[in-house]
């Protein structure tokens, strides 16, 4: 025993050294993750942004390292700007619709369930959230296909006329459900809905019941309490959820490719530019659009208290 204390093994000496030198310990802990993220992740992000300044020659299809702002200026061409507006419009619409659909579920979870039922709801929302993204998209192509489940339901409820009328509305419709804006919108809402439910539910959970009692004591009807107390206090949750629905829709390129009418989204444009066209500088310039839009959106929802509700 004495011998061990007098002459500790190398492992113990090393452990003691780390204990006496907390800064050394911290540095050793941080070196591997920081190297990985700094070199691989941030390095490639900066490299990508830098490539946005390179020149792409339309005739030789070659990229030369001559710096230019032309790629970023080209984002404001009518055809490119249309893509940005189309994607942005879809992201806003999907976020709004998800919030409206998610709220009742989150409200019911937070206020009317407890114990086992609450756990059941929680898992029932988490499972579809984590279930494979590509399989969920595939499921919707099956649902919306000709002769598929959606059509069967529509016929069962004798709503064919209504569906046809909806599909003729410009900006929403299309020739069939699976090639319409409406179909694409439904798939997006379905896939990102759980990301909206959970933050709203968490913000409603945190709402102290005493506030609602106080509101009732002061003579508010349940409806008034809901509109003037519950809803305003759940705004941070809605804003937090909308970060996910907004940014995930903005960068998606698989759903627009599989469901909905032709026409590029930001994501599919980036994909086409770097792949088929080989114009990496333009692709890099396009990736700046979602980064800027998301940064703007984050600064907006930060004011609504979204970061405290994450």
């Amino acid at each position: 025993m004495k011998a061990r204390l007098a002459n500790p093994g190398p492992l113990r000496r090393f452990a003691n050294l780390l204990y006496r030198r907390p800064n050394l310990y911290l540095t050793l802990l941080l070196i591997p993750p920081l190297t990985w993220f700094g070199a691989i992740y941030l390095g490639s992000l900066l490299n990508l942004l830098w490539q946005g300044f390179y020149t792409f020659d339309d005739f030789t299809m070659a990229v030369t390292p001559d710096l230019t702002l032309g790629n970023f200026a080209a984002l404001f061409n009518p055809s490119n700007f249309d893509i940005i507006l189309r994607t942005l419009g879809m992201a806003v619409a999907v976020s709004l619709a998800s919030a409206v659909l998610a709220f009742p579920i989150a409200y019911y979870m937070a206020r009317y369930t407890s114990g086992k039922t609450k756990a059941f709801f929680y898992i029932a929302v988490m499972m579809p959230m984590w279930a494979s993204y590509i399989v969920k998209t595939y499921a919707w192509t099956l649902l919306l296909a000709k002769g598929g489940v959606a059509q069967w339901f529509v016929q069962l409820l004798h709503l064919d006329g209504l569906l046809q009328a909806l599909l003729t509305v410009p900006g929403i419709g299309g020739s069939t459900l699976s090639t319409s804006h409406l179909g694409r919108f439904m798939v997006f809402v379905y896939i990102w809905l759980p990301f909206m439910i959970l933050p709203i539910q968490a913000s409603l959970e945190r709402l102290p019941p005493s506030l609602l009692q106080a509101s009732a004591d002061l003579g508010a009807r349940p409806g008034q309490t809901f509109w003037q107390v519950t809803l305003p206090l759940s705004i941070p949750g809605i804003a937090a959820g909308s970060i996910f629905t907004f940014s995930l829709t903005l960068g998606d390129f698989i759903v627009p490719q599989l469901v909905g009418p032709p026409g590029y989204f930001i994501g599919s444009m980036v994909y086409a530019q770097q792949g088929a066209i080989g114009n990496m500088p333009m692709a890099a310039a396009f990736t700046l659009v979602p980064i800027v839009l998301i940064a703007l959106y984050l600064s907006l929802v930060k004011r609504l208290g979204a970061f405290d509700a994450l």
Binding site: P8, L11, R12, A15, L26, L29, P32, P33, F37, I40, Y41, G43, S44, L45, L48, Q51, P104, I105, Y107, Y108, M109, F121, I123, M126, M127, P128, W130, A131, S132, Y133, I134, V135, T137, Y138, A139, W140, T141, L142, L143, A145, G148, V149, Q151, W152, Y190, L193, P194, I197, S247, G251, D252, I254, G267, Y271, Q274, A284, T287, P290, I291, I294
Partner: protein
């Protein structure tokens, strides 16, 4: 009453497409999606598992997910051990950087990695897929482990040190057993995330085909519909089951040893 209906209706909406996938995996038809299905069979499972391209894709996806999870476990645990107690300059920046790969759209991570690999002359393949996956899996492990570290009582560690254990022994016998289930839960979630990932993978995979990429190829050029249906159900199961596992492992936060302070 209306609220209750809306809530349960919402749950049904969330699960309906998943049920459809399960239903169609047993469908007897081999080209159409007619509903209701005409009949049920197990035949397509044998067909799917005899296909070399499906087996290759499964093997690659498993390899990628295992390697990415392993890297994420190491890096995520180190990062959470560094960040959970001490505050120092740049701490906020580091935690933001860890979250960035899942906060920014996957397409940005994917194309950034692709352009970096191209510039460095690295041939896309298993290695590049794993690098991409590990990068966004770290935050999953990090979140699970740091939550557990924050709940673990400091007095346990002090007691261990008072009783003469050194830093390593305290880690080995006190901290690690406490972290065990959090590491397992984080690892399972990271595995599921990696197994299913498609957006980053389309950029970093080169000619390799993971299972989600195999599925995407099938969707753009529908050929073997029954095999696709079976594979879709398989991928769904592999990504959903870890959720249940992770939930049961991290549930009951109050029962962590020493949390009574």
């Amino acid at each position: 009453m209306g609220l209750r209906l809306a809530a349960w209706g919402g749950l049904l909406f969330l699960h309906f497409p998943i049920l459809i996938i399960v239903l169609y995996a047993f469908n007897t038809e081999d080209a159409a999606f007619s509903f209701p299905p005409k009949g049920f069979t197990l035949k397509w499972f044998t067909v799917a598992f005899a296909r070399p391209d499906v087996l290759e894709a499964i093997k690659l996806s498993l390899q990628v997910a295992c390697l990415a999870t392993l890297i994420a476990l190491v890096l995520g645990t180190l990062a959470s051990a560094a960040l959970y107690r001490r505050s120092f300059f740049g701490k906020e920046g580091i935690s933001l950087m860890l979250i960035l790969p899942i906060a920014l759209p996957g397409i940005i991570t994917g194309i950034a990695l692709l352009s970096a690999f191209k510039r460095l002359g690295i041939e896309p393949g298993l290695f590049t897929i794993v690098v991409g996956h590990a990068t966004f899996c770290v935050v999953i492990v990090y979140n699970n482990v740091i939550a557990r570290l924050r709940r673990t009582s400091q007095s346990l560690i002090e007691a261990s040190m008072d009783l003469g254990a050194d830093g390593w022994q305290t880690f080995r016998y006190i901290i690690l057993p406490n972290l065990g289930s959090a590491l397992l839960a984080g690892g399972m979630l990271a595995f599921a995330l990696s197994f299913d990932e498609i957006i980053v993978t389309t950029f970093t995979a080169g000619h390799e085909r993971t299972l989600p990429i195999w599925l995407l190829n099938q969707l753009s050029r529908p050929r073997d519909v029954p095999v696709t249906n079976v594979v879709a159900m398989l991928v769904m199961l592999v990504t959903m089951l870890p959720i249940l596992g992770a939930y049961y492992l991290t549930r009951g936060g109050e029962s962590v040893a020493g949390s009574g302070k």
